[in-house]
Amino acid sequence: MYGFLKRYLPGPMADVLMALWYVLLILTVLYCASEPQAAFRYLMLEAPDACLWGAYAP
């Protein structure tokens, strides 16, 4: 994606857009991670047990 932006956009535009993209992703992860997270075990996804801010109390 960065290579594509660098090729078609002038100056530091590609760097700025990439930085904004990463910030957007980080904020989305932080927002969504406050929901209960399922404990992972391959093929058997367990009940929600935690969120980003600590143990999840249902």
Binding site: I26, T28, V29, C32, E35, Q37, F40, Y42, M44, L45
Partner: protein
């Protein structure tokens, strides 16, 4: 420590920072110590088992002499016995489904790494190495818990050539971020929570629709969770200067079940190809037997139970039917679709069909009993009955 927690982020950053700060000769030692500490805190039983496996594998694998083959077989047998014991005894009833810790953390992954080491040792393909390098391989923190089941030789190559590179570091951080997007945003938030709420709002009488949506939700959730954690593991390894093997290559975009298995959990399937399928072909000259055996190993690697036996046979049958169909097509010289809208539609239909075949397989693997499997089949495919 949950993978999606602030403590985990802090711990990960601290581990990587100290790793690059200490002198190069101490780096692998630091990783070994931190991996062991991680296991001792979270799964002491697993730490003990891993230490025993490591000593046993290295000692019996490198003893040499006239009976080296027997010693290697003894080590592999002992590890297989422990793995089988946990796989059989841990999950014996449907009530066990709610237990959080089922087998020692990472046992399935590191036992397969030990088998790989022993088998390659037996074949004599491993380069010269020290015990410390072997220890670094088995106790490699990023892949300890959820794989991938990486191989010893590429690991050793990276071990000797790794150095601080800002582009590798940046690639690793990007990979971890995309992994977290898959796990936290797409899998947990979108498919697990939001789609779960939507399914919960459907009239309970519409069982077929509910089970179908649950199938789609389960298949997407599983793929995104697993590939997300694989991305985090691969990214973490990149931060330490190692490039471990990929685990997924767009599996739900594949056009048939054989291609699906070439792109799903690739580290396990390539392991099974090298150490089960090819030896079985050499032994029996029968691709059907080799196919079924390989899928049985894949199924029972997940869990020794009737449902995973059924799941393995279901996929083995799917792959055999697909291969036979290809042979028949060649024999009958059936024409291909000419390029255009018809070919695109056929390609899209084959992708959708493959996804549904796989998705229903996951539904089988989630059912606690054979009766529940039959009931889910009836609800999905014979709903008018």
């Amino acid at each position: 420590m949950h993978f999606v927690s602030l403590i985990w982020f802090a711990w990960l950053a601290g581990t990587v920072a100290i790793y690059w700060i200490v002198p190069p000769t101490w780096r692998d030692l630091w990783l070994i110590v931190i991996s062991l500490a991680f296991l001792v805190v979270h799964a002491p039983e697993s730490a003990l088992l891993l230490v025993c496996f490591t000593l046993l594998t290295f000692w019996l694998g490198n003893k040499g002499g006239r009976h080296s083959g027997y010693r290697i077989a003894l080590a592999a047998g002992a590890i297989f016995g422990v793995l089988l014991y946990y796989k059989i005894t841990v999950r014996t009833s449907p009530e066990d489904l709610v237990r959080e810790v089922l087998i020692p953390m990472g046992l399935s992954y590191y036992s397969f790494r030990c088998f790989h080491y022993l088998l390659e040792r037996f074949r004599g393909t491993l380069p010269a190495h020290t015990f410390r390098e072997f220890l670094s391989y088995l106790l490699f923190l990023p892949t300890l818990v959820v794989g991938p089941i990486h191989r010893f030789k590429p690991f050793l190559d990276d071990h000797h050539t790794k150095r601080w590179r800002s582009d590798t570091l940046s690639e690793g951080m990007e990979r971890i971020l995309y992994g977290y997007v898959k796990v936290a945003v797409l899998a947990n938030f979108l498919f697990s929570t939001q789609m779960g709420r939507f399914i919960g709002s459907i009239n309970p009488q519409a069982t077929t629709r509910i089970l179908y949506l649950e199938m789609v939700r389960g298949a997407m959730n599983l793929y995104l969770q697993f590939s997300g954690f694989s991305d985090i593991a691969i990214g973490f390894a990149l931060l330490l200067g190692y490039r471990v093997m990929e685990n997924f290559n767009n599996p739900y975009g594949q056009r048939n079940i054989a291609d699906f298995w070439r792109s799903w959990h690739m580290s396990l399937t390539s392991w099974c190809r090298d150490y089960v399928y090819l030896p079985m072909i050499g032994l029996t000259r029968n691709p059907y037997v080799a196919n079924i055996t390989t899928f049985l190993v894949i199924g029972l690697w997940h869990e020794v139970s009737v449902r995973f036996l059924v799941w393995a046979l279901y996929h083995a049958t799917g792959v055999i039917i697909w291969r036979e169909f290809q042979t028949l097509k060649r024999q009958l010289r059936l024409p291909r679709f000419p390029p255009g809208i018809l070919a695109t539609a056929a390609r899209a239909a084959s992708i959708v069909l493959t996804f549904h075949f796989v998705g229903f397989g996951f539904t089988i693997a989630r059912q606690p009993t054979l009766a529940a499997m039959c009931e889910s089949f009836r609800v999905l495919f014979l709903f008018w009955w």
